[in-house]
């Protein structure tokens, strides 16, 4: 009954078209209410005879029991278990690695539960989400990543704060279980901090940049405390490290695309009271026919990294090492469960500068520190690998990798690595 009055009041403030529309909608709502009322009456009428047909219980002496409640509303909240729905997604990924053969001066254990990565991921509030990845080794625990991502910032910006893998190239951002190999390329081991890489506490700001049609461009700027084993070392608060990454992507066709990037990192050198700089270029080519995406795919990837590492020792003139390294790799999926891969890598490194895993070959003049740096030279390691991967399901894989490497000291490694990787729980999908 109030509808026409309300509509009139509103109509005075609204244009004629809106008012008539409002009236129509209210009329529709009234009709709907009448229909529902009729439905309720019909249902009540059906229930009444049914109740009348129920056999009447024999008369018994009045019992002091409460009358059956006529309150049909559901009382109380959800059970205690309902609170668990707010728990984060939890996942565990196991990585078991074995190695046989000669290691050529970079030994790894014969059998090792290399890593158990535990992930906790959940939305925090309407403005942000959080991701934690805790890596358990056989002996210790390491916070691999733990950061908040602000997803609702203005101007197309995205901010991350916490500990994270720096956006330097491709391999550095990749967790172990997403790598197409059992190990990491020589250039990562020699110049970018090995398995942990540039992984530090800091802030990351990114934005999708304007670009010509068909091209995706993203800019990422990061600031870290400046501590990453073998790459950066902060001895003062001002020794922060900075990483910049320009990421490009282009769809060549619906099945093929190319992804490319340029990276720069600068921080305090762990070998001198000076800077350490890294420059990187990366490119990845993907082919995956959409109609047969689960059976066939090919990925070719490569990264080139240049370093400018300052090294000095007490009383000596600082010297600048400029090592360079790269890898080229390809993976071809031949069936739903089988994948072949190959990788060629080459990397220079400063003589006696640490690598991860560590090179145990004796340095020239190892005991004479000053002479060691005075005769600073570059060594070159070269390696090649072939891989075969079997995937019983999406949640496990078995991989073997034959690796041959010739290290700068003249030692050669011929190793057969094998890996069992298995995951359980809800592990969030990784970005492209």
């Amino acid at each position: 009954m109030l509808a026409p009055v309300a509509a009139f009041l509103l109509a005075t403030a609204l244009p004629a078209q809106d008012a008539s529309e409002l009236l129509n909608r209210m009329k529709a709502m009234e009709d709907r209410i009448h229909a529902l009322e009729n439905e309720v009456q019909t249902l009540k009428a059906q229930q009444a005879p049914a109740a009348a047909l129920q056999p009447q219980p024999a008369p018994v002496a009045p019992q002091p029991v409460p009358l059956p409640s006529v309150d049909t509303a559901s009382l109380g909240g959800a059970g205690g278990a309902a609170a668990k729905v707010l728990n984060p997604d939890i996942s565990v990924i196991g990585d078991f690695i074995g190695a046989v053969g000669s290691h050529g001066g970079r030994p790894t254990p014969s059998l090792e539960m290399h890593e158990s990565e535990v992930g906790f991921q959940e939305v925090i509030d309407p403005y942000a989400r959080a991701d934690f990845f805790i890596s358990f080794g056989e002996k210790g625990v390491n916070l691999e990543e733990g950061y908040i991502t602000f997803t609702a910032l203005p101007a197309g910006l995205q901010l991350k704060a916490g500990k994270m893998r720096a956006a330097f190239g491709r391999v550095n951002t990749t967790h172990n279980h997403v790598l197409p190999w059992i190990d990491r390329p020589l250039v990562t081991q020699n110049l970018v901090g090995g398995e942990d890489g540039i992984n530090d506490a800091g802030l990351s700001l990114s934005r999708i940049l304007p670009a010509p049609k068909g091209l995706f461009l993203e800019g990422i700027a990061q600031v870290f405390r400046g501590d990453s084993d073998g790459v950066f070392s902060a001895i003062r608060r001002t020794n922060v490290s900075a990483v910049g990454h320009l990421h490009g992507y282009h769809d060549i066709s619906e099945s093929t695309n190319i992804d490319f990037g340029a990276s720069y990192a600068r921080g305090h050198s762990p070998f001198a009271d000076a800077s350490n700089q890294l420059y990187g270029l990366d490119a990845t080519f993907h082919w995956k026919p959409l109609r047969r995406a689960i059976y066939h795919s090919f990925i070719a990837r490569s990264e080139f990294i240049w370093a400018r590492t300052n090294v000095d020792s007490p009383g000596q003139i600082r010297s600048l090492a400029k090592p360079f390294g790269f890898y080229v790799a390809g993976d071809y999926q031949v069936g739903r469960r089988w994948m072949f891969g190959a990788r060629f890598d080459r990397s220079q490194r400063g003589n006696c500068l640490p690598t991860i895993p560590e090179t145990t070959a004796p340095c020239v003049n190892d005991l004479d520190t000053e002479a060691r740096f005075r005769n600073f030279t570059l060594r070159q390691d070269t390696g090649g690998s072939i891989l075969l991967t079997y995937l019983p399901s999406e949640f496990s894989l078995i991989r073997t990798q034959f690796r041959r490497a010739r290290y700068g000291e003249g030692l050669t490694a011929n190793e057969l690595l094998f890996q069992f990787q298995f995951s359980m729980g809800a592990h969030g999908a990784h970005p492209f």
Binding site: D18, E21, N24, R25, V123, P126, Y127, R129, T149, T151, A152, L153, G156, L157, Q158, R207, I208, G214, F216, E218, H247, Y249, H250, D251, E254, N257, D259, H286, K288, L290, R291, R292, A293, I294, Y295, R336, R337, S393, E394, F395, M424, A426, G428, A429, H430, P431, F432
Partner: protein, 356 residues
């Protein structure tokens, strides 16, 4: 010496007024100076008035140009699959643009989260997803990286279509991966029942109406029209398919429970031993025996699965493999929701007729 009036606002339309002092026979006479100043101030006033008029005209034109643009702006809808996009076009008409991430001939469980999708998601007003963890392997990182607060989960621009539909095969009891790549929240291929299609269309029309209240009546009318056409089409499909009700089939993946329940087909078993697990020799042998025992001749396969195993099974039982389309866009003929059922029902009828 020439003086001219010049605006402080270089972007505003201005008028240059020549004011030649020599022509005014300049004297030291006070009255003449007053007269000059009066003429000058009158001229300035006129010019200022003219300028304001022009400014307001420009502003009004600008407003007039902007208002219709805003009113006519389309709702930018991104969807996980082509089916939802097709339904969005049905009820949205010219007032929405709808684009799907996964193609109709692509396995919707496995889509690459390409950065090019981010550019589209960044501008979306609405993201409508299938839900029930169908897109769990690829959509969450795209949503997070989209930098679009509107389409984040549980925000007004995020729609989980499964919330509006009848869901089958909701696992009871303990769910483990020993059951294969099982969907713990229920089977996500629910759009293959027109009743669910109708529910999705209604939900989309309501959502569009809430985004653009001015056009709510139009969306409601378009939905009413869609509902009517779908009801008519269903009558036709039911009549055509009536002779085949109760027929048993084998399907590759568990993509068809809603379709089969609606049109009366019985799924006897699957080519996959468990969801997401490729066929194994032992299960294939069991399947051949089952088909021989029960006289099942038809194997339904989605366009993204390999046909070798189904063909080999079919050859052993003198049966047939039929590639049935689970989504709009599965092939070039299927461009809308009606054509999806037209195609599948005709293909099934033809296949059954051949097998007689």
């Amino acid at each position: 010496m020439n003086y001219s009036f010049n605006s402080n606002f270089p972007w505003a339309p201005t008028e240059r007024i020549p004011f030649n002092m020599k022509n005014l026979s300049v004297t030291r006479d006070r009255s003449t100076l007053v007269a000059i100043s009066r003429v000058a101030s009158a001229t300035n006033r006129k010019v200022r008035q003219n300028m304001f008029k022009k400014k307001y005209c420009a502003l009004a034109t600008l407003l007039l140009a902007v208002i219709p643009l805003q009113a006519a702006s389309k709702i930018n809808v991104m969807t996980a699959t082509e089916d939802i996009a097709a339904l969005a076009r049905e009820v949205g008409g010219d007032l929405v643009t709808a684009e799907a991430i996964a193609k109709g001939y692509q396995d919707p469980h496995f889509v690459e989260p390409k950065p090019s999708f981010l550019l589209k998601l960044q501008k979306a007003d609405l993201l409508a997803v299938v839900g029930l963890q169908l897109e769990i392997g690829w959509l969450p990182p795209l949503i997070t990286q989209s930098r679009n607060p509107r389409i984040q989960p549980n925000q007004p621009g995020y729609m989980d279509m499964s919330q509006y539909c009848q869901i089958l095969e909701i696992p009871q009891g303990q769910v483990t991966r020993a059951m294969g790549d099982v969907h713990p929240l229920g089977n996500p291929h629910y759009w293959l029942n027109p009743d669910n299609g109708r529910r999705m269309a209604k939900a989309l029309a309501d959502k569009f109406g809430s985004i653009q209240p001015a056009n709510a009546a139009q969306f409601a009318a378009r939905y009413a029209d869609f509902d009517k056409r779908l009801t008519e089409a269903e009558k036709g499909w039911d009549a055509k398919f009536a002779p085949y009700k109760g027929k048993k089939v084998i399907t590759y993946h568990r993509s068809w429970p809603n379709f089969c329940e609606r049109f009366g087909l019985v799924v006897a078993d699957y080519v996959e031993p468990k969801p997401g697990i490729p066929p194994t020799p032992a299960h294939t042998l069991d399947l051949i025996n089952l088909m021989k025992r029960e006289g099942i001749k038809l194997i339904l396969v989605e366009p993204y699965f390999d046909l070798r195993t189904p063909n080999s099974i079919a050859s052993k039982v003198d049966g047939q493999v039929l590639v049935l389309m689970p989504s709009v866009g599965g092939n070039k003929e299927i461009t809308n929701y009606f054509q999806l059922f037209d195609y599948d029902i005709n293909a099934l009828i033809n296949a059954f007729a051949k097998l007689k």
